[in-house]
C-alpha cells in the first residue's frame, strides 16, 4: 500500500475548534494518504477524539476546512461522505442481532436480501466471526463486539476507517490479538485507517505514521522510528520516547556542542541534526537524555563520559529481560534508567549509583 502513499485522501487544513471560549484544537493541519495507517496519539484531553468527530461531521470546526478527496466535507451529503467511524463505545445496535448489525449499512441502501446475506457472511469471516449472524450483541465478549463493529464499518467499503480508542475496554491479551487483526484487515482491504489512541505502544506496532497531539496542537508527524528517536519537542520526547527530559538553560553554544545548566548540574549535549534551531546562551531549553542504560557489570564505576552524576535508587521494576530503575539525583531530578537483567547478573545495586553518559547520547530541544 505504500506505493500509493502520495495520493491524499483526507486533508485537515488549519482547523481550530472552540467550545465556548475553551480552545480544543488550534490550527491543526494533517494530510492522510490513501491506504495508510495513521495513528493520532496524545494524552486524554489533547483533542484527539475531537479530530475524529470533526472528520465524521458530528462536530463542526470553528475555523478551517476538512477535505475528502479535495472536496469540503461540509458540502458532501452522507451518501458521498464514506468515512466510517468505530466509536469508543462501539455504538452497536443492542436490539439487533450480529447479522443485522453488520448488514445495517447495506440494508438502508436497499441491497437485495441475498446479496446482503453473502456480504454479511463474507465480512464476518474477515473479522473471524463466521456463523455469528443470529447471536445477540449482549452475548458477545468485548473483543467479539469490537470485531462486529469493525465488520459493520467495513461492509460499506469506506474510503477512510476511523477508530476511536479501539482497545479501550480490552485486556492486555485481547489487545495484542486485536492489534494483529487490525494489521491483517489493513493488509487485506487496503483501507485507509486513522486511529486515535493514548497508548503509544499500540500506535507504534500498527501504524505507518504517527501524529503526536498535545493541548490541541500537533507536535510532530512521522514514522514510528522517527518519532521515537528524533523527537522535535520536549513533549514528544517524554510522551512517546519515555526519555529523561530536564528543564535547562544554555550556558555555552559552541557549534553542535552545547553546555547547559539544569538545576545545579552542568551538562553537555548536542544540538539535534533533525531540527534547525540556533541555540544562544541564555536560551531556555530542555535537555533530553536518551534513557541511560546502566552497564550491568560496571555499574558502580564511572565510565568515560562527559556527564557524570550520582543518584540513589528510588523505584525498581523488572519485566522480562529489562529492569527499570528510577534514580533520584540530588540537585537535578529523578532519572529513568534501564538495564538488562538475567540470572547471572547481580541484583543488588550499589548506593549511590554513578551514572555517566557521553554528550552524543543527549541533545537539547527548544522549550
Amino acid at each position: 500500500m505504500t506505493g500509493t502513499s502520495e495520493d491524499p485522501v483526507l486533508e485537515i487544513r488549519g482547523v481550530s475548534k472552540l467550545y465556548g471560549r475553551k480552545s480544543v484544537l488550534s490550527d491543526v493541519s494533517l494530510t492522510i494518504y490513501r491506504g495508510e495507517f495513521l495513528s493520532i496519539i496524545g494524552p486524554s484531553g489533547s483533542g484527539k477524539s475531537t479530530i475524529l468527530k470533526l472528520v465524521v461531521g458530528t462536530v463542526k470546526p470553528t475555523k478551517g476546512h476538512i477535505l475528502l478527496r479535495g472536496e469540503d466535507i461540509a458540502t458532501l451529503g452522507p451518501e458521498r461522505l464514506r468515512m466510517v467511524m468505530v466509536w469508543q463505545s462501539l455504538g452497536l445496535f443492542p436490539h439487533m442481532d450480529v447479522g443485522d448489525n453488520v448488514g445495517f449499512g447495506l440494508a438502508i441502501r436497499r441491497v437485495s436480501r441475498r446479496d446482503l446475506r453473502t456480504r454479511v457472511a463474507q465480512y464476518l469471516e474477515m473479522v473471524g466471526l463466521q456463523g455469528f449472524e443470529r447471536r445477540r450483541i449482549d452475548e458477545l465478549s468485548g473483543g467479539e463486539q469490537q470485531r462486529v463493529a469493525i465488520a459493520r464499518a467495513l461492509i460499506v467499503e469506506p474510503q477512510v476507517l476511523l477508530l476511536d480508542e479501539p482497545m479501550g475496554g480490552l485486556d492486555k491479551h485481547r489487545r495484542a490479538q486485536m492489534l494483529s487483526k487490525f494489521r491483517e484487515i489493513h493488509r487485506l482491504t487496503g483501507v485507509t485507517i486513522v486511529m486515535v489512541t493514548h497508548d503509544q505502544a499500540e500506535a507504534m506496532v500498527t501504524s505507518g505514521r504517527l501524529a503526536v497531539l498535545n493541548d490541541g496542537a500537533i507536535h510532530q508527524v512521522g514514522a514510528p522510528y522517527e518519532i521515537n528517536n528524533q523527537p522535535k519537542t520536549a513533549f514528544v520526547a517524554q510522551f512517546v520516547g519515555h526519555k529523561n527530559v530536564l528543564p535547562a538553560v544554555v550556558v555555552n553554544a559552541n557549534g553542535p556542542r552545547l553546555t547547559v545548566k539544569s538545576h545545579a548540574e552542568t551538562l553537555s549535549g548536542q544540538a539535534p541534526r533533525w531540527i534547525s534551531h540556533d541555540f544562544q546562551p541564555g536560551d531556555e531549553v530542555v535537555y533530553v537524555e536518551v534513557v541511560y542504560v546502566i552497564d550491568a557489570y560496571k555499574v558502580s564505576f564511572a565510565t568515560n563520559g562527559d556527564n557524570s552524576v550520582n543518584g540513589h535508587v528510588d523505584v525498581r521494576s523488572v519485566s522480562g529481560g529489562t529492569e527499570v530503575v528510577e534514580l533520584v539525583v540530588p540537585g537535578l531530578a529523578t532519572l529513568r534508567c534501564e538495564r538488562s537483567v538475567s540470572s547471572s547478573i547481580e541484583s543488588e545495586l550499589p548506593d549511590p549509583v554513578n551514572l555517566s553518559w557521553s554528550a552524543e547520547d543527549a541533545y537539547v530541544l527548544p522549550r
Partner: protein, 262 residues
C-alpha cells in the same frame, strides 16, 4: 428481641394491608351476596349483580366510552410524551430545566382547577360535553407522566448508537424508526398501559368536561347520587381487576428497560 421486632414488623404490614384492602374485600364479598341490604354475615351467594351490571345500558355505555377514551388518551399522551423526551434528550433545549418544568406542568395543576378552567374553555370552543373534549382534557393531564417515563429510559440510551447509524448513512427518520423506537419498546408499552390506567380511573376531568359523555367513573358517581344499587359492587370489582392487571403489566415492563439501555 430481634425475633419479636421482626414479628411486630410483620404484624404491622399485615394490619396495614388489611386496612387498605378491607374495602375492596368487602365490596367483593357484597358483590356476590343475595339481597339489597349490605350487612355481615353474608347470607347467600349469587351472580345476579354481575348479570344486572352487564345488562344495564348506562354501565355498558360507560364502559365503552371509558375504553375508547383510555385507548385514545394512551396513544396521544405516549406520542406527546415521546416527542417531549426526544427534544430534551437529543435536541438540547437552551434551558432544559425550565423546559422540563413547563412540559410537566399539566400534571401538577390541581385537577379541580384545571377541570373548571377546561370546562369554561371547552364551552367557548364548542367541544364541551364531547368525547373529543374528554380525550383532550385527559391527554393533557397524562402526557407529563408519559414524558417522565419515556425520558427516564431515553436518557440512558447511548447517543453513539444513533451517531453510528447516521455515520453509516441512515436518514433521521430511519434512525428514529429502526434504532430509537425499538430500543424504547418496553418503556413505550409501559407508558401506553400506564396512561390508559390513569385515564380509566380518572374522574374529576371527565366529570367537569364530559357533560352527557359519561365515562364509567362518572356513570358510577351518577348512579350513587340517586339510589343505591348493589350491581355497583359488581362493577367496582370488575374495574379493580382491570386496573390491577394493567398495573401489574406496567410494573413488569418498566424495570426491564435498564437491561435494554445498558
Amino acid at each position: 428481641m430481634r425475633r419479636k421486632a421482626a414479628l411486630a414488623a410483620r404484624a404491622y404490614v399485615v394490619v396495614a394491608f388489611a386496612y387498605l384492602f378491607a374495602p375492596v374485600l368487602s365490596v367483593t364479598l357484597f358483590s356476590f351476596q343475595t339481597g339489597r341490604v349490605q350487612t355481615f354475615p353474608i347470607r347467600g351467594f349469587t351472580l345476579e349483580w354481575y348479570a344486572s351490571a352487564l345488562t344495564n345500558s348506562a354501565y355498558r355505555e360507560g364502559i365503552t366510552t371509558s375504553v375508547i377514551v383510555a385507548v385514545c388518551v394512551a396513544v396521544i399522551s405516549t406520542v406527546l410524551g415521546f416527542a417531549g423526551a426526544h427534544l430534551l434528550c437529543r435536541r438540547s433545549p437552551r434551558w432544559p430545566l425550565l423546559y422540563s418544568a413547563f412540559v410537566s406542568m399539566p400534571a401538577f395543576i390541581p385537577l379541580v382547577l384545571s377541570g373548571l378552567v377546561l370546562l369554561i374553555y371547552f364551552q367557548k370552543i364548542w367541544i364541551y360535553g364531547s368525547l373529543f373534549g374528554v380525550i383532550a382534557a385527559q391527554a393533557c393531564y397524562c402526557s407529563p407522566f408519559a414524558f417522565v417515563v419515556i425520558y427516564l429510559s431515553y436518557q440512558k440510551l447511548n447517543v453513539e448508537v444513533e451517531q453510528a447509524a447516521r455515520n453509516l448513512g441512515a436518514e433521521p427518520t430511519t434512525i428514529l424508526i429502526s434504532i430509537v423506537l425499538p430500543q424504547l419498546y418496553r418503556p413505550l408499552i409501559a407508558t401506553l398501559l400506564l396512561t390508559a390506567l390513569v385515564s380509566w380511573d380518572e374522574f374529576i376531568l371527565a366529570f367537569f368536561v364530559g357533560g352527557f359523555t359519561k365515562t364509567l367513573p362518572t356513570v358510577i358517581y351518577a348512579s350513587l347520587a340517586t339510589s343505591f344499587d348493589p350491581s355497583i359492587n359488581a362493577i367496582g370489582v370488575s374495574v379493580t381487576i382491570c386496573s390491577a392487571s394493567l398495573l401489574i403489566l406496567v410494573s413488569r415492563l418498566a424495570p426491564s428497560q435498564s437491561r435494554l439501555a445498558g
